[in-house]
């Protein structure tokens, strides 16, 4: 575990990042993540929140500025060092948006075994952990199944199990509820709630504002110019309609009340009977 809660887990300082041959998708972003915190990164598609998660997980490295984990800068060299590299990989879990990319083993059991075996744990220890983790997430019956045959909700839970089996202290979650049906979604939220109660630090990237009250104690907003524009409690951020309009997280919305057509800023904080096509694809 990464020390007492309240300690700075991640320190992001003046980070600028661009994919080769493209304009920057993060531009001078700075913030800190504290132990035991539930932080949400919100922003429109392409605002760079998913990229930011990749930087926090030491998968991409910033062009300018730095990202530090427990005071130690995350660089390619640092991650190749033992014990820092393996310890970081064990302590920080990343739930990818695409479960298909995350579940690359032929069977659920192999999937859970992958991380622990990379850590060099003994076979017996690995098997014991697999059993416990599957039981914890109530997916023991999936142990011998192939990920290809699972439903979206089951895949998400297996992906989460493949991280939890390493007993991480930080979870980075990229659009965890995207594509899940309401039941799987609330089940996942329950699990995350329980994990938080056990002291895990959760960093979630999402553009689904309905989730914020369930997922976060603190919200960071990224603008479409790839800058950090707000940092605060969910209620405060959700109340700031001008800000949300400016970053394209909500939109002016017109609809009919009887014969009257009117227009008002609209946000999907509660279930809404209108159907909107948000184009749930991710370019970032």
């Amino acid at each position: 575990m990464s020390g007492p809660s309240g300690e700075t887990v991640f320190a992001v300082e003046g980070v600028r990042f661009a994919y080769p041959g493209q304009p920057p998708c993060l531009d001078g972003v700075s913030f800190e993540v504290r132990g035991g915190e539930r932080l949400a990164l919100v922003g429109a598609n392409g605002s760079g929140k998913s990229t930011l998660l990749h930087l926090l997980d030491g998968l991409y490295f910033p062009g300018e500025g730095r990202v530090a984990y427990l005071g130690r800068p995350l660089t390619e060299d640092a991650l190749e060092e033992t014990p820092f590299g393996p310890r970081f990989r064990q302590e920080v879990g990343f739930l990818f948006q695409s479960s298909d990319a995350q579940l690359f083993c032929p069977m659920v059991e192999d999937e859970l075994a992958f991380g622990p075996l990379q850590m060099g744990w003994t076979q017996d220890e690995v098997l014991r952990r697999i059993e416990d983790t599957l039981a914890l997430l109530e997916i023991s019956r999936l142990r011998g199944r192939s990920p290809a045959g699972l439903s979206a909700g089951e895949k998400k839970r297996v992906a989460l199990a493949s991280l939890l089996v390493l007993s991480p202290s930080v979870l980075l979650l990229d659009e965890p509820t995207a594509g899940l049906d309401p039941r799987s979604q609330s089940l996942l939220l329950e699990i995350l709630e329980a994990l938080h109660a056990r002291g895990l630090t959760l960093v979630t990237a999402t553009h689904d504002l309905t989730l914020l009250p369930h997922l976060a104690d603190r919200v960071i907003v990224l603008s479409e110019e790839h800058r950090l524009v707000a940092d605060g409690a969910p209620e405060r951020v959700l109340a700031d309609t001008d800000l949300l309009l400016a970053v394209n997280l909500i939109h002016a919305h017109s609809h009919r009340h009887g014969r009257l057509v009117h227009s008002h800023p609209h946000q999907h904080v509660v279930a809404h009977e209108h159907v909107h096509d948000h184009g749930h694809t991710h370019e970032d």
């Binding site: 997980d57 990989r89 990818f96 990319a101 075996l117 011998g144 493949s162």
Partner: protein, 308 residues
Amino acid sequence: MTALPEWLRPGARPSGGVSPRPAAHRLLRRTLGAMGRSLALLVREDDGPNAGALRAADPRAKLLAAVGLIVVATFLRGMLPLAVCLGLTLALSVAARVPGRRLLPVLIAVPLASAALMLPATLNVVSGGSPLLVLWRTAGGALGPWRLPEIVAITGDGLLVAGRMVLRTTACAALALLLAATTRPQQLLGGLRSLGVPQAFVMVLAMAERYLAVLLRSAQELHLARLARSVAAIGVRREEAWAAAGVGAVFRRTRALADEVTLAMVSRGFTGEVRLLRPARWQRKDWLLMAVAAAVGAALLILDRRLA
């Protein structure tokens, strides 16, 4: 929202148009069918409590036994040993409750295709031997570099050669099918692990199997979308261009997935060295299976040499 254009309103009809031509969809449907069957095999789950005993056997033992017997079959020369081999395999398939629809191709399509291919081999011009049934008498002579035979006839040697081929290919196919039908791909991959196959190779084969399902689904979606939108036949050139675009789209997904999977692996501590779960220990019934397979193989070979 801006107003809907006229043609998007309910009840709008396009001016002119084409009538549907179902025949144009045949090819699409055939491809979709093949993809669906492959997918079904990949994601098939456990076969329930009344599945045959062979399913419960260790995949390694099954793999070794099946491959061993296939190798034995390629050494057999006599019709009788080959027929015994095929008969045993089919009996075992029935006992193992291999579903009929999977067994059917081996029982019908493979021998028929093989027989059709071997038809010329029954003739004296291919296999030699003394004629049993003369089909055609020619004047002889020469055609370019080739001397034409004076008679074309079915010969005893020819029948033996062709029969041997049909029996052997069918027996091999039946054995391969028995293995594939009683062992889920995931278990088979687990089985490879402990047979001295390098772990990196097993890992790649397993990942190939895993992502085959994902890519097949994308390809299937492409075809379904095409089927849903296509009304009439388009020209062969455009069909080709469409297929190539489909292949291109699948390739894009391939590359994106490869990148993402790499990150997912690195994120869980992968540094390039493959470590896999140790497979379960061999049990007595697995040794028994191997012993039976070895005994059958040896018996077949001895029978074959005795008859020769």
